[in-house]
Subunit: 319 residues, 2 copies
């Protein structure tokens, strides 16, 4: 393996659930995202020397997802040197856009690159999941997997872990609107019931199966007909101010479909063209700004690539 | 439209549910299946002049699915003449192979052909569903749609009806073993609970989404990993003697996966080659014959075509 001294990695935000794919489906965005910079040190152990972009995150490597991920990788590889890490947050925490997942994915990808790629990108998913476990208590993969691998990614199973990159052969553009309201993922999850009605389950998995067919057969109409959430959106929508109006505005503006990104409060919409995605962004912005609620908005193609090296100032070929 | 005097149609048996696709997914077989013969008569109304292959089915057009389907079509088309129908059952009733669906699909396809194709094959699905309503009280589509259209067919939604032929680009071979035990569909359905645990639902739709990806990406390994039923098979398996042993024998013999066909008692297994499907048939047969239980067994490619004209003795071009 060829190792290097310093590496800088970007990993993107992600949309999990995607209406009917609760806990099993997610996709990557181009922007926003997080950067992790990693420098090799002679002293063993991991330090987090700088965090930019948000306040309030711990610098302790046991209490920050990038430190948790890096320490787990170093321990498994029995590496004698240490790491100096910097985390540059390019996205807000608690937005429903996979913030902890982007940091975790960037950390896993960066450490792997620094060490000369001992792991494939798919093998990094379990390491990035350790960051999710540290952040939320649950090692879910539906954000970290698309953040690492790009595109749409399915999590078929956790035991054993079975992550399926879909390789969707169709261009899709995502509009994200993040209204500036606070919503705890733990609250959004706490209102979920332990049981669901069978009939709603059947409609949900009928839509998910059809969404898969739409994505893989490049059928925009079928994608649009399938982007429904029969179970969770009706229970969670009230947590997001103006959600119904925003969703309707997106559909009226030509979106194929729209829903809650992850646990919210961000709203996502998918469109067939960038022009439509921009129109959708303007339509949703109109709903919120007329009510005096601030927001951040992004328009992004769903990219084929996820985490990636963005600058590599020093590279040394080493045994 | 070109109408004719006499038409003979075959429609195949089907496997519904397909492990993880309860109530939304089904596929066609080549054999067995039912034939419906239809002759145009001057006297209005529908008569069923002959039923072969099984005993106990009503000849009254209001009480036999082929009569129900044909009458509904004639009424909607405001046709002045009548029909003399014959039903030749090539498959047992109550087998879990879509027996009433094959009769209904054959009737709809035959009447449509006789009338010069006023409907597309997809438009026949709601008519064939009327046969299912008459047979079981529920107008489900997951058997009639693949029996009419062939291949794998998804029923995304009932309101509105949205039937999606998948056009699976991969050869699959199905082994069917029908142990000669009686099982009422109504009993198999009555043991279903109205609610399901959310965690089982998530695993079920993760598997279904992955099955769709496996089918559409021609990934045999993924198809095999996805053919699990977390919810219904554990509740219904005890209704089918030796089910667990038969399924294990199929997997040991090389099947990609196996499960209950529809509501049972037939067992289906999917394989990548015809040779493997034959080995799987022998393995399951071994389980039953060593226990003295009679069975019927079939090996069939999953065909691209469903219902079809098999003989057309008189054809007149008419306005």
């Amino acid at each position: 393996m060829n190792a290097s001294e310093f590496i800088k990695v970007f990993a993107p935000a992600t949309v999990a659930n995607v209406c009917c794919g609760f806990d099993v489906l997610g996709f990557a965005l181009e922007q926003p995202g997080d950067e992790v910079w990693v420098r090799r040190t002679e002293t063993p152990g991991v330090i987090i020397s700088d965090i930019q972009g948000v306040s309030g995150l711990s610098h302790h490597p046991d209490e920050n997802v990038v430190g948790v991920v890096a320490q787990k990788m170093l321990a498994d590889l029995d590496v004698s040197f240490g790491l100096d890490m910097q985390l540059h947050k390019g996205m807000p925490v608690g937005s429903g856009l996979g913030s902890s997942a982007a940091s975790s994915a960037a950390a896993a990808y960066a450490v792997n690159e620094l060490l000369g790629k001992p792991f494939s990108t798919e093998e990094l998913v379990p390491y990035a999941m350790e960051g999710e476990r540290a952040a939320s208590g649950s090692a879910h993969a539906d954000n970290v997997a698309p953040s690492l691998l790009g595109g749409f990614v399915l999590v078929r199973s956790y035991e054993p872990l079975d992550v399926v990159p879909l390789g969707v052969p169709v261009a899709l553009y995502c509009t994200i609107v993040h209204p500036q309201v606070e919503l705890k993922t733990s609250l959004a999850r706490s209102i979920l019931k332990k049981d669901i009605p069978l009939q709603k389950g059947i409609r949900q998995w009928g839509n998910l199966a059809a969404l898969m067919a739409g994505l893989l057969k490049a059928d925009y109409s079928l994608i649009g007909r399938s982007l429904h959430d029969e179970i969770f959106e009706p229970e969670r929508a009230f947590l997001i101010p103006l959600f119904k109006q925003a969703k309707q505005a997106a559909l009226d503006a030509g979106a194929l479909g729209a829903g809650i990104s992850g646990s919210g409060p961000s709203i996502f919409a998918l469109s067939a063209t960038e022009e439509e995605a921009v129109q959708v962004r303007k339509a949703i912005e109109g709903v919120y700004t007329s009510s005096g609620i601030d927001l951040h908005a992004y328009v992004s193609q769903v990219p084929e690539q996820g985490a990636r090296v963005i600058q590599q100032p020093t590279l040394h070929a080493q045994p």
